[in-house]
Symmetry: C2
Subunit: 289 residues, 2 copies
Amino acid sequence: MSRGSLTPGASPGFTESPGSLPISRLSFNQITAERASLKEVVDACARHGVPYVAVWRHKLAEVGVKAAACLLRDAGVRVSSVCRGGMFPAATGEERAARIEDNRRAVDEAAALGAGVLVLVCGAAPDKDIAAARRMVADGIAALVPYARERGVRLGIEPMHPGFAADRSCITTLQEARCLAERFDLSTVGVVADVYHIWWDPELYDQLARAAGRLVGFHVSDWLVPVRDILMNRGMMGDGVIELRRIREAVERTGYAGPIEVEIFNHGVWDTPLDILVPLVKERYLACV
Amino acid sequence: MSRGSLTPGASPGFTESPGSLPISRLSFNQITAERASLKEVVDACARHGVPYVAVWRHKLAEVGVKAAACLLRDAGVRVSSVCRGGMFPAATGEERAARIEDNRRAVDEAAALGAGVLVLVCGAAPDKDIAAARRMVADGIAALVPYARERGVRLGIEPMHPGFAADRSCITTLQEARCLAERFDLSTVGVVADVYHIWWDPELYDQLARAAGRLVGFHVSDWLVPVRDILMNRGMMGDGVIELRRIREAVERTGYAGPIEVEIFNHGVWDTPLDILVPLVKERYLACV
């Protein structure tokens, strides 16, 4: 498992393989090029024939929603999702209300960009009470649903790896995310499956099957070995231990046929120039996913 | 959540609290003082009235089993468990057989030290196939069971945090560990519950209840925030986000009344002199567990 074969074509094994996905489903999640601006990412995607981007709100704030919508339209690049809403648990009712209000702004932004999905990173407990945090997440989503429904934006609950349970999300498994989503109507609340967060789950394939009809996003990267910093441990598809093809095929059996986002937090990836990185992402997507 | 209040009595909140455990159940897991020898740890436990230690094999190898048994007997300190057996998956049948043979030596050592339990850290896949690795674990335990049964040593399957799924154990949840244990007789194969590995699980309390009668060990530490290196992210009880008292009470409802091991991988803890560390462990055990 190499940590950094970041040169396109470096390995003859990484060419389009039988059963490859069409490029028409590829989305470049903006965090994969954290050091670039939205315009730089969108232009690179247009230049290299990547049809979708996933947009992060901190990058969107740098240009503003109107300018972003223009540059996306001009480039002919669509938005697969906006990252991220969520972060519902907080110590006070006032702070929780403020976060729900911020989530409404995220819904507005997703609607303005024509993104069908707002990804929810649900948030961690403000204290030790993870059960209470889970209730705050359910309450927050319930408060957000009518607003999202009116604007035609689906909320995608992303279960996160248990390594993030105290920092980013108390919702840690596909089963938990699906059961939470099932409290709401199918057309407004779904589940986002990210291989990095779910690959280890002994119930992975059962739970994917049960999520049929509820998946609203699929994210790919890889899990590098050995593990160092758990946030930055993602790798380019093919460089780690995740059975990407097997998981993707299980996701397809659920009926999900939407964009597939490549989302990689990795300093080596972030240091790679866009005109090397975007072709490499395409190559690995075709060869490994 | 402080990362390092390693001074006994530093906080007036950390005194014996209502519902405290008896010291008679406390075990000092040797890895909590990784830089000390077995003799140093055993002597410190004797000096400070800690009745049990958990012994690691790499430390045991430094003195030999006979000398270790003598020094434990002389000090009047008992062994709660030997760490660790397991690591069953490997790329070749020859290597898997060698690992089972090594596990038999671990059973011998546990028997020689009067330890009732050999903790199994089951191992990770040698490649990307985590399902195959799980089968190798089941096969390895099946091969080991008759030998362990004859020697009166129970095998304790320890589910590990999913952050270790590619490095240390493909067995990641209490449910998975219990279902695996249930393939074997109750008197030979059980489950070890370590709060660090299981605290995040949305099914934690249900799964603990289902493990009634199968628990053969309970390990405590804490989960520090923010997470850095996932291996070394453990903290002293009370310094992190784990609801230790609540989990311990759930463990007691399963009927488990055996030793409670304090097992902390943390460089700050490892740098603390034993005559400060052992009293602090006692204090936090009484106040927080």
